[in-house]
Structure formats: C-alpha cells, structure tokens
Symmetry: C2
Subunit: 131 residues, 2 copies
Amino acid sequence: MKIGQVAEVSGLPAKTIRYYESIGLIEPAGRTSSGYRAYQERDIETLKFIQRARSLGFSINEVSALLTLWNDRNRASSQVKALAKQHVADMDRKIAELQSMKDTLSNLIEKCQGDHRPDCPILNDFAKTDR
Amino acid sequence: MKIGQVAEVSGLPAKTIRYYESIGLIEPAGRTSSGYRAYQERDIETLKFIQRARSLGFSINEVSALLTLWNDRNRASSQVKALAKQHVADMDRKIAELQSMKDTLSNLIEKCQGDHRPDCPILNDFAKTDR
DNA sequence: GCTTGACCTTCCCGTAACTGTAAGCCTCAT
DNA sequence: ATGAGGCTTACAGTTACGGGAAGGTCAAGC
C-alpha cells in the first residue's frame, strides 16, 4: 500500500506519516522499485495505534513509550496503567487551569456592559496597579 | 529601572520581555548610556497588563489587540467584551476536548488490572483492528 | 506514443511562545 | 584589579506538524 491510501485508512495525513518516520517514531517504510514507500499490514496497524493514542492526547514521546510496551509481550500492565494515569493527571491539571482562567474571565465579562461606552471592567482589571 | 527589576515586579522573565520587544508587542525600551534597557512607570504598567492577560490565556495576538483597545480612550466596551467572550468560547472547546479524552482514557484505565501480567485493555483498545 | 493529472519524492520555511546557551560588555564591591 | 552578577546580542532548540516548491512515477485516454 502506498502512503496516500495508508493515510486514508489510518486517519493520519501522509505528511504526518513521513514526519513520524523522520523522527524515528516508526521504522522506515519499505520502498517500491521506483522509490515509493510501501506499507505492510503491520505498519498500518502501528499507525492506527499511534493515531488512537495521539487522539487521546498522548505526546509523541508517550506514544513512543506505549509502542515499546505494546511490542513487549512481557510488559506488566501496571507500566501501561501508570503511564496512562500520569497522562490523566496531566489533563486534569490542564482542565483545572483552563477552568480557573475561564471562571475569572467570565466574572469580568459579566461586569462589562458591552455597549458603545468605553468604560470596561475587563481592561480596568488588567490595568489594576495594585495586586 | 533595568530589566532585571522589571522582571521581578512584572512577573515576566527578562528573556520574555526582550522577546516581546523583538516581536513588536511592546515599544523598544529606552537605553542607558551604556546600552542597558531603561524602563519607565508606563512601560511597567504595560508589562503587568500583558502578564495578566497572558495569565488568563489570551494569545500574544489577542493581547496585542487588547493593548490597542486599552490605549484607545474611545473604544466601545463591546469590542473588549466580544474579544473576551471569544476567548472564553475557545477555552470551553479546549476544556470539552480534554474532558472527553480524559473520560475515554479513564474508562480504559479502570478496566486495566495494572499488575505484573501483560494483558492490558488500554493497549488492546489502541490496537483494535476494527473501528 | 504522448500527454495529462494524480500521486509520490525530498527539502526547506513557518508556526507559538518562549527557553537555553554562548560569548562578550558593564558595574560594583572587595 | 579582580571577580561576581547583571546586562547585551545572536542563534539553536522546543512540539507536532502544515505549506509549498521542484521534480520523479504511473495509469488512463487520445
């Protein structure tokens, strides 16, 4: 299978697949006699695996670790679970941070008339000289 | 005031302040005779303003727009409010996305024993050939 | 047999918002 | 005068790609 088709079935842009190869996340694909990348079933499974892990927010580095674990028939599931838990914790922190920023800003927005007049509690708050 | 002190009072690293100057977010600071950047009160207020806006998640571009509005004594507060609302909407989307990823992964984690054995529903799910 | 258009190739630049590092002045206290 | 710490510029690295140029390949159609 050539890269275009692989892109379709894996859900990853061809450009991204080449990128993954260039950074060593995946093994270099085989080549046809004319130099096109040729993918096997196993390669495609790997790319789908990567796509799913990435869609859950794992970084490339984390995906790399997951791939290693996936390919290790003897890994302890506790290792995978720990990695996943860490990622959930990271997401929790990000969610809390976003939520906090959102709450603060929402409060300011409520206080802002939002009409033609220039007075605006939002800018006033940003410009507060105390604090 | 020199950049080190400004960094302390504004909460922005000196490096970041230079960066903001380099991209044109702020006016180039004045200089002492020996070439050091010299900041006035107004510059410091601006940097604090930027720090607060950034801490609420506004992008540099958005901050730039906010600065323009801040410096425009005749702006309508509706403009500021619209910008802020847009940002809240962006954050809402990000929160929902993170939450969804987190929920999915949390479900998988619950199903994983996390012991010494290799069987792991998390990796199994990533590797599913259907879907 | 030749052209056309869809794919494929590599290579390099740009993105956001900085952070790290290097090499070299400036200032002040000892 | 010397050493520490702060300042300067400039360039590279980070994350995870996307855009676009210049050119090779392949199957279809005339």
